[in-house]
């Protein structure tokens, strides 16, 4: 017996009699994973619903026209965001048969899904809220809808808007960087996959 074979034997005898889970426990796990995926999606939809509802309420109750228009745009942004999330990012149970793919193909599909999600987060969640948010900021800036706020100079509002834009830009660049990192892993897998596939 060669040295690698001796190590193999030691490995294979390291677990002889595993404690197998009962069939009931296995079935409960399957249901548990489905429930978890549904819960994760539901929590995102709850945030989006709050954005839509808050926007709609403010669209009727806000004191100036600009704020009312801004709030209505935020609500529309929430609807777009929910629609995009459902279309692009939401997690469901692994499609039937996917788990039996050769594992590098499966791994590649998982990484590609994550890469697309990272690349789309800005598009799905931030971009739809920006026009409404901008309009609300203008509405707040103008004291009674026509004149600038008496206690705050216009430069303060410009500063706030620039800070918000900078935060969005940093988030967007971070997501792009994450997507590029995932793409590198996908490229490495592509090098290993059979050429005929």
């Amino acid at each position: 017996m060669s040295d690698p074979d001796r190590v193999k034997q030691a490995w294979q005898t390291s677990v002889r009699a595993p404690a197998l889970p009962s069939l009931a426990a296995v079935r409960a796990d399957v249901d548990g994973f489905r429930r978890k995926a549904r819960r994760e999606n539901a929590s995102v939809f709850a945030v989006q619903s709050a954005m839509i509802l808050g926007g709609l309420v403010a669209a009727f109750l806000a004191p100036t026209d600009l704020l009312r228009i801004g709030a209505a745009m935020v609500a529309v942004g929430g609807v777009v965001s929910a629609w995009q999330f459902r279309r692009r990012v939401s997690t469901g149970p692994v499609p039937e048969g996917a788990e039996a793919e050769p594992l590098l193909l499966y791994q590649r599909a998982q990484l590609a899904g994550q890469r697309d999600a990272a690349a789309n987060v800005f598009l799905c969640f931030h971009l739809p809220a920006i026009p409404g948010g901008f309009m609300v900021m203008i509405g707040l800036m103008l004291h009674d809808g026509t004149r600038p706020h008496p206690h705050l100079p216009p430069t303060a509002w410009i500063g706030v808007m620039l800070a918000q834009a900078a935060c969005l830009a940093v988030g967007w660049l971070g997501m792009r960087r994450g997507a590029r990192r995932l793409q590198k892993k996908i490229d490495a897998i592509d090098q290993l996959i059979k050429p005929e596939r």
């Binding site: 060669s2 040295d3 690698p4 001796r6 190590v7 193999k8 030691a10 490995w11 294979q12 005898t13 390291s14 677990v15 002889r16 009699a17 595993p18 197998l20 889970p21 069939l23 426990a25 296995v26 079935r27 409960a28 796990d29 399957v30 249901d31 994973f33 692994v94 039937e96 048969g97 996917a98 788990e99 039996a100 793919e101 050769p102 594992l103 590098l104 193909l105 499966y106 791994q107 998982q110 990484l111 994550q114 490495a188 897998i189 090098q191 290993l192 996959i193 059979k194 050429p195 596939r197």
Partner: protein, 177 residues
């Protein structure tokens, strides 16, 4: 709504679990160092395996099927874990066997080998780890290619490195004994 599965699905799963249960547990140890999370991973693999017998119709050998399911679940587990804990992984050509400072005379030979082997496997990059674990389970190069989807050339290069690593591990143990 819960699922109960058909009698045939339950029977085929139970047979596979009995036959491959030990290999699944070893695989989970190869992917996950934390004992608690190892148990979770084993449960996840069994759940996926049971589910898979709904649609297994001999697309490949049952052995390849079970290993594909098990490794795919483990890969998903590791992707989630890496988001939590980032760790630098190495390739087969870069990884060093983990030095061991304990009193080796107190350790049984095989247990010492397995522990060092596990410490090394945990540091391997994903594709290398998959080949190492499948090789240790006695799968041939063709079967490893079938399970992983890796090209024959890539599998053969990795098996060559795995063998060298295992031989070094064994000779280290002999030197110490």
């Amino acid at each position: 709504m819960g699922q109960t599965g058909s009698h045939d699905q339950n029977r085929r799963y139970a047979e596979a679990a009995r036959h491959y249960g030990a290999a699944i547990e070893r695989l989970a140890r190869g992917y996950e160092a934390d004992a608690e999370l190892q148990r979770d991973l084993v449960q996840e693999i069994h759940a996926a395996l049971w589910r898979s017998y709904l649609y297994f119709e001999g697309q490949c050998s049952e052995r390849s099927w079970v290993y594909r399911i098990a490794h795919n679940v483990a890969v998903s587990h590791m992707i989630v874990r890496q988001r939590v804990k980032r760790q630098t992984l190495a390739g087969l050509d870069e990884v060093e066997l983990i030095p061991d400072g304990r009193d080796l005379e107190q350790e049984a030979g095989d247990r010492w080998i397995v522990e060092r082997l596990l410490a090394t496997i945990h540091r391997l990059a994903s594709a290398d780890r998959q080949v190492m674990l499948l090789y240790l389970e006695d799968l041939s190069a063709a079967e490893i290619g079938d399970v992983t989807g890796m090209s024959a050339g890539a599998v053969s290069v990795r098996i060559h490195r795995v063998k060298a690593l295992l031989a070094k591990l064994h000779s280290d143990k002999e030197d110490i004994a």
